[in-house]
């Protein structure tokens, strides 16, 4: 289902982007971990879509 796919993409970015943002705050950097987190989270989301919704 389309909804589920979109939800996975968004939550992937939000969860790992959010964790990265927290790490940024903790370490004192200005956004590098949030950026990395968002990209990694999106990759995770895509992977989940392929595994759960793909063939």
């Amino acid at each position: 289902m389309g909804m589920t796919a979109v939800a996975y993409l968004l939550t992937g970015m939000l969860v790992w982007g959010g964790i990265g943002w927290l790490v940024d705050h903790w370490v004192g950097t200005r956004g590098i971990f949030a950026g990395i987190g968002a990209v990694v989270g999106m990759a995770g989301g895509v992977y989940l879509i392929v595994r759960r919704l793909g063939a």
Binding site: A7, T11, W16, V40, G41, G45, Y47, L48, R51, R52
Partner: protein, 263 residues
């Protein structure tokens, strides 16, 4: 001017969130009292209408259905076959009554949004979609735990088929999307559609008056604006049916996900 005197003296424009909070019915006309408003009345009316309709049409079931019975059977048959069984499979018949109730309740509640002189949907207040989403949320988790047992259900829904070293990356995403985003998106999707629909109709109706009040020569633009209101009402009808259907289908698909054995 002649035209201007026909128009209501002062139209509040632009519309705001305040327009969704209608004066109280009991006690009559009181502001800042939300115990019994038009919204409350509409929800009770919806409930009563659905109960009475289904009771009356199933009172004496005929082999060759009467018109009312045919409508009731069509609605139930539609949700049962095209939503419950289609999404969940043969086990879905168990959920057909709940899904039908959900579908008719949302459909009728949404429909108040375009009934002339009523024209506001209770679902444009987030409390009602949120409550419905909470019911669906508790139900699909309960069904999953009943079917698998708690530990196995958590395993099925949180651990995707993947090599172990990516699991730490994926499990938070699964947790977030299954247990936090689902109820939220279910509620917000319905609420936002109904809210935006009501807002849109308000903007075009009141906008027509506002333009006319500004200058009587704007009459043609006002007429276009009101024509747009009518056109948008038909668009709203589409949205109303679609959102009731989407809510039901998504609930069914969550139940299906909770019952699924392997992934």
């Amino acid at each position: 001017m002649a035209v201007q005197s026909m128009v209501l003296a002062d139209v509040p424009f632009p519309p705001s969130v305040e327009d969704f909070y209608l004066p109280s019915i009991l006690p009559w006309g009181e502001h800042d009292n939300y115990w019994f408003t038009k919204i409350t009345a509409l929800v009770w009316l919806t409930t009563a209408l659905i109960i009475i309709f289904f009771l009356v049409s199933y009172r004496k079931p005929q082999l060759v259905p009467t018109k009312k019975q045919w409508i009731a059977e069509s609605v139930y048959g539609f949700v049962r076959n095209n939503v419950a069984v289609e999404m969940i499979g043969p086990a879905g018949v168990r959920f057909a009554p709940y899904l039908t109730t959900l579908f008719t309740f949302i459909l009728l509640n949404n429909f108040w949004g375009i009934v002339p002189f009523v024209q506001i949907s209770p679902n444009s207040h987030i409390a009602f979609p949120a409550m419905l989403a909470a019911v669906s949320y508790v139900m699909f988790i309960w069904v999953g735990i009943r079917h698998h047992g708690f530990v196995k259900y958590m395993k099925v829904s949180l651990i995707p088929p993947a090599p172990w070293f990516i699991l730490p990356l994926l499990i938070p995403i699964e947790f977030f999307s299954t247990f936090l985003v689902r109820p939220f998106s279910l509620a917000v999707r319905l609420f936002a559609n109904m809210f935006a629909g009501h807002m849109l109709l308000l903007v075009f109706t009141l906008g027509g008056f506002a333009m006319l009040n500004a200058n009587a020569w704007f009459l043609p633009f006002s007429l276009v604006s009101w024509a747009m209101t009518i056109a948008l009402t038909f668009l709203e009808f589409l949205v109303i049916c679609l959102q009731a259907y989407v809510f039901t289908v998504l609930t069914a698909s969550y139940v299906q996900g909770a019952l699924a054995d392997e992934h």
